[in-house]
């Protein structure tokens, strides 16, 4: 697990790519898109601490 994770983030070797029909995308870009989706969902769901909330 550790070795496979390290190989994913090792930027000194050739990149890892996923091929799905005509779609080809690097693992790094796919992970980044996934993180963006997660951050987007979190930004909608996580309550924002409004100014003065601590006084109530």
């Amino acid at each position: 697990m550790g070795a496979s994770f390290a190989s994913l983030i090792n930027m000194n070797g050739p990149g890892h790519y996923i091929h799905w029909g005509i779609i080809q995308i690097s693992v790094a870009n796919l992970v980044l898109i996934g993180v963006m989706v997660l951050v987007f969902i979190a930004a909608i769901l996580i309550p924002y601490r409004r100014h003065g909330d601590g006084d109530r």
Binding site: V39, F40, A42, A43, I44, G52
Partner: protein, 241 residues
């Protein structure tokens, strides 16, 4: 232009005073139009509507903050030059800051874009705000692309030789030569940053002028109200924070 003869009483306040005889001057007209479009309290408001208290509204500011880091680190790189950013440890550090602030810039801009798309942020006469944001995004892609071409390494050679076929197929290769390092560097450090900063400036001013787009109202709470910028549909009045 009207020449003042009572120079003895000239203070800065006198100079900018609205005198009836000056009303036709272009400076007076421009000033009045600017103040009318963006009065100081709207340009720099103390409060925002309650619905702005959500993390999704933070990503526009994060994009601006990362753009500021991009501009500052890019300026430092331009001051010291390629040998410094390729060889010295400080130069490599600032070079990395420049790259990663661009990554953060695009990351936060995409989340900002998704948020505004699903809010249909062009509602309420905010079309120009949406369009300037979209064009800023497209021009930013060009700025990043010319940046990757300016790295002076094998990566930039690979990208330029791959891209030239695509650019040539559009017919633009004659005037936009991606294998011309000098041309790409000038586009990257002068032309495209200027356009991005100007567009982002207009975008932010439009956000101030039209206000932050309100969320969609539940169907049973839709009210139609007249506002200075036109008719809009919104939820019932919201509290200020």
């Amino acid at each position: 232009m009207t020449l003042r003869t009572d120079l003895d009483s000239d203070t800065s306040a006198d100079v900018v005073a609205d005198l009836p005889e000056d009303a036709d001057q272009w400076t007076a007209k421009l000033r009045h139009a600017a103040v009318e479009a963006l009065p100081p309290e709207r340009l720099m408001p103390d409060r925002q509507p309650a619905y702005v208290a959500s993390w999704i509204y933070v990503f526009g500011v994060l994009t601006l903050a990362s753009l500021a880091v991009v501009i500052v680190t890019g300026t430092v790189l331009a001051v010291f030059g390629p040998t410094w950013w390729h060889v010295s440890s400080e130069g490599l550090f600032v070079n990395s800051l420049h790259l990663w602030s661009v990554e953060v810039f695009f990351f936060t801009m995409i989340v900002h874009l998704w948020g505004k798309f699903f809010m249909a942020a062009w509602r309420g006469r905010r079309r120009a705000t949406w369009i300037t944001g979209v064009v800023s995004f497209v021009v930013s892609v060009g700025a990043a692309f010319t940046g990757y071409l300016s790295q002076q390494n094998f990566d930039s050679q690979w990208i330029s030789t791959q891209a030239k076929d695509g650019i040539n197929s559009t017919g633009a290769g004659a005037i936009f030569n991606v294998t011309n390092f000098g041309q790409m560097l000038m586009w990257h450090i002068m032309l495209l940053p200027l356009v991005v900063v100007m567009l982002v400036g207009v975008h932010v001013l439009l956000v101030r002028r039209r206000g932050v787009v309100p969320p969609f109202a539940p169907p049973d709470r839709v009210v139609r109200e007249e506002e200075p910028t036109g008719l809009r549909e919104t939820a019932a009045p919201v509290e200020q924070r």
